[in-house]
């Protein structure tokens, strides 16, 4: 069962190690300054972007008079504007995450907290979107390290969403709210309503011109078929039931199916240059965070 008390989820040791992680992040992301990143927006800076014809209402201070002398046409000189990065954490809160030892949802919340702390420390704007919640109650983009404690309270209070959520539907619902484009980090087990559900959800994020990174959280027991026997399997998320005889052959078939799905996800991410981490909850959270820093793409 997922924890709901903040002390149980984020203890003092966790917070202490986050600070150390923040220092490590500065060394790993070498040379970057605060809020330094490219943006599609144009503004004032020292880095030239392009020319644009002058139109009425434009700030005449940006007219390039040298260009006017050469071309006899008023043009504006545009520069790449530096602005805050938006980092959206899409936290899978469906029933399938409420499973395992430790509970995958707890693990995922700790991952989000850790990455969120790094983002806030970097003066990025961090938001958390619990996929599957109805209505969508997300953590609006916030900036600054002082927002970290409210973030923890928010994460600790997050419930596991009821059964029947579709990843694609939930993602689409969030995208209809037109969030600012930025980095979207999906923290999920990627178990959807079907084998293409998670991929379609990622497609929608990419189509919305967000940068995408994926952390797939799994429990070790999910990766094997388990002991032989006759079972009636119950899907904790959708409530579907299936009677199976689990023997050596069917266990091998399960393994093949599982590996095939994982390979499909990896191939998708390779194709679209999406950073991907496929981990199980036996890996300590901080090891995962360091891994994400080394691999890149999850924080800036």
């Amino acid at each position: 069962m997922a924890a709901t008390a903040i002390d149980a989820l984020f203890d003092r040791e966790f917070l202490k190690r986050l600070e150390a992680l923040s220092l490590a992040a500065r060394q790993l992301v070498r040379g970057r300054m605060k809020a330094e990143r490219r943006s599609s927006a144009r503004g004032s800076s020292v880095e030239f972007a392009e020319y644009r014809p002058f139109t009425e209402g434009d700030d005449w201070r940006y007219i390039d008079w040298n260009a006017f002398a050469r071309w006899r046409q008023l043009v504006l000189k545009l520069f790449i504007e530096e602005e805050d990065l938006y980092i959206h954490f899409l936290l899978d809160g469906t029933a399938s995450m409420n499973w395992g030892e430790p509970v995958k949802f707890d693990y995922a919340r700790q991952v989000v907290a850790g990455l969120g702390y790094l983002g806030l420390s970097n003066l990025d704007r961090v938001s958390v979107i619990p996929l599957g919640s109805e209505p969508l109650q997300w953590w609006l983009p916030s900036r600054g390290r002082e927002r970290f404690l409210p973030l923890l309270h928010y994460l600790a209070a997050l419930p596991v969403i009821g059964a029947g959520a579709h990843l694609e539907t939930a993602t689409r619902k969030w995208l209809t709210m037109k969030p600012r484009r930025g980095l979207v980090v999906v923290v999920s087990d990627l178990w959807g309503s079907d084998r293409g559900d998670a991929l379609r959800a990622m497609d929608r994020i990419r189509y919305a011109r967000h940068e995408l990174a994926v952390i797939q959280v799994m429990d070790e027991a999910e990766q094997t078929a388990g002991a032989a026997g006759e079972y009636e399997l119950v899907d904790t998320e959708y409530g579907h039931r299936r009677k199976v005889i689990l023997d050596r052959a069917s266990a091998k078939e399960f393994d093949d199916n599982f590996q095939h799905y994982q390979e499909t996800v990896r191939a998708y991410c390779r194709r679209h240059r999406v950073p991907l981490l496929q981990i199980n909850t036996r890996l300590p959270v901080f090891d995962l965070l360091l891994k994400s820093l080394r691999q890149g793409g999850f924080v800036r």
Binding site: D189, T236, E237, H240, R242, D247
Partner: protein, 551 residues
């Protein structure tokens, strides 16, 4: 087929929970998973089971029910037609005679007897009880009345063979008395019928006799003894006797050792029907252990009588106290003997004197005399030795007991006596030398308490000048040696060596039966087969169950 405990059939009601549990077991275990994505299209599924697999489930249930039926049948204690359904009592007499160590087939008679007893115990029915008696002398009850076959088997397997041939009669008497407390109890005697004393026909009546063993060739030592000789201190005689039970002579080698050193090796031929015997005579002051080893040629079915041991105690010094005025004859006759120490005192022995022999010459022992061995020479008064009647002038020796050890080689017929005293000997006294009804030497010198009266004055006779005098003194002293008793080896004896079975002539009314010699599986209780079949079914069912979910 009958059943000793038919109420056990009510246990068939357990079939209901078996079926119930079977149905419960058929319900699938529920297992929660986070997704069914990877479980799709998995084969086989329960609803796709081939028909024969479904049938195997049914076979499994049928096997379980059959298993239950077999167990219940076993618990109901089935008996074969002809077996008694009434509980019975059995008195089992096991003969532990040493002859049961004789060979019988590949084993011994004792093993055969134990096996027969165990088979008899195994054949006990439900409610039967038995007692086991080791029919030695005295008989020993190994197990009181009990129906627990495990206990009975245990005491039978722990029973030990006796060192000698037993007398079966006390055990038979005990068994007859037990029948009084358990009317109808059967007496069964397991024996080779080689007994020291054959029982009479009455005591064998109503006894079922299981005769063990058959005739075997045997020869062995039936006597081996070392006997000190009174001729002199340390002299001894070694005797050995070998017998056999065949109609032809038996050759063999007899080896004798003395204190572990080889003493003699003889090639011996033992004639049929009579013993072969031999004597050795020698002298030794020290302790000696003699061993005899008999190795017959050819087959021999009884080894317990082929070795014997005899002991000879060391000769010890004898202390003699002579209570007398100076008497050189006595002092020399006594003191000249080997390992005899003479001390003369007068007029009375010292208090606490520990002499082996006290001789009062013309004196009386003190009041309350309790000396061990006492010789009174011409006692002046009456006493425990007899009543003084009066003087006996110039008596003539009319008779002497030359067979008595005391008088061996002592010729007293020509002794001239001037005067003597007539005594009326005390009760139990033996007259060694007599003068027409008036004892001259009498007493009790063959066993303790020893005392002897010489009823004449040595000084008034020529007895001290004759050779009979020192011989009498020597016989008198040598008789006191504690090793004067013959040491005989504890061999089984002639009865055992002969191995003559006497059932036919002594137990005419006895029912003589050979023990069951069937196959081993005959002795297994009938219901065991049901239990074994149930176990086999259990294994098959378990195999079916495990294969069903793992193949």
């Amino acid at each position: 087929m009958k059943f000793l405990w038919p109420i056990a059939w009510s246990l068939l009601g357990l079939a209901l929970p078996v079926i119930l549990f079977y149905l419960i077991r058929q319900r699938l275990r529920t297992k929660s998973v986070t997704t069914l994505l990877f479980w799709e299209n998995l084969a086989p599924k329960v609803h796709n089971l081939p028909l024969w697999r479904k049938l195997r489930r049914l076979v499994s249930l049928l096997l379980q029910l059959l298993l239950l039926a077999l167990i219940v049948t076993a618990v109901a204690r089935p008996i074969l037609p002809g077996q008694s359904t009434v509980a019975s009592s059995l008195i089992l007499l096991l003969d532990p005679s040493v002859t049961m160590a004789a060979q019988s087939g590949a084993g011994t008679r004792w093993q055969d007897a134990k096996n027969t007893a165990l088979h008899r115990i195994d054949a006990m029915g439900f409610g039967d009880e038995a007692t086991v008696i080791l029919a030695g002398d005295p008989p020993r009850v190994l197990s009181p009345w009990t129906g627990r076959r495990g206990d009975l088997r245990q005491v039978i397997e722990a029973a030990q063979i006796a060192p000698t041939v037993t007398d079966i009669r006390p055990a038979l008497s005990l068994a007859q008395n037990l029948v009084l407390s358990h009317p109808g109890a059967a007496i069964e005697l397991i024996s080779d019928t080689v007994w020291s004393v054959p029982p009479d026909k009455d005591s064998l009546s109503r006894v079922k006799l299981d005769l063990i063993g058959s005739g075997v060739t045997n020869s062995g030592i039936t006597l081996f003894s070392a006997r000190p000789l009174p001729a002199g201190a340390g002299e001894y005689q070694l005797a050995i006797k070998i017998e056999q039970n065949t109609a032809t002579p038996i050759n063999g080698e007899l080896t004798l050792t003395q204190n572990g050193h080889l003493m003699d090796v003889l090639q011996v031929t033992v004639p049929p029907g009579q013993p072969w015997q031999k004597f050795w005579r020698a002298q030794s002051m020290d302790a000696v252990v003699f061993t005899a080893q008999w190795k017959p040629q050819g087959e021999d079915g009884f080894a317990n009588d082929q070795q014997a041991t005899a002991h000879l105690e060391p000769v010890r010094e004898i202390k003699v106290t002579l209570v007398s005025a100076p008497n050189p004859f006595l002092e020399v006759a006594l003191g000249s003997q080997t390992l005899v120490k003479v001390q003369r005192v007068f007029p009375a022995p010292a208090p606490g004197d520990t002499a082996d022999l006290t001789i009062f010459n013309d004196t009386l022992p003190p009041a309350g005399w309790t000396g061990k061995n006492t010789v009174l020479i011409n006692p002046p008064q009456s006493g425990f030795w007899g009543e003084r009647v009066g003087p006996n002038d110039k008596p003539l020796v009319s008779e002497a007991d030359k067979d008595a050890p005391l008088m061996r080689f002592a010729e007293v017929n020509d002794v001239q006596l001037h005067s003597a005293t007539e005594f009326k000997p005390a009760a139990g006294a033996h007259v060694y030398v007599d003068s027409f009804g008036k004892p001259l030497i009498y007493g009790h010198w063959e066993s303790n308490p020893r005392w002897l009266v010489i009823a004449f004055d040595l000084d008034q006779s020529d007895f001290v000048f004759r050779t009979a005098f020192p011989i009498l003194c020597a016989n008198m002293v040598q008789a006191l040696r504690p090793d004067a008793i013959t040491d005989t080896s504890d061999v089984p004896g002639p009865v055992a060596t002969q191995l003559k079975q006497m059932a036919a002539k002594s137990g005419a009314s006895a029912q003589i039966e050979q023990p069951a010699t069937g196959h081993w599986w005959v002795a297994i209780p009938f219901w065991w087969w049901f239990a074994c079949a149930a176990l086999l079914l259990l294994l098959i069912e378990w195999s079916l169950y495990t294969r069903r979910i793992t193949e």
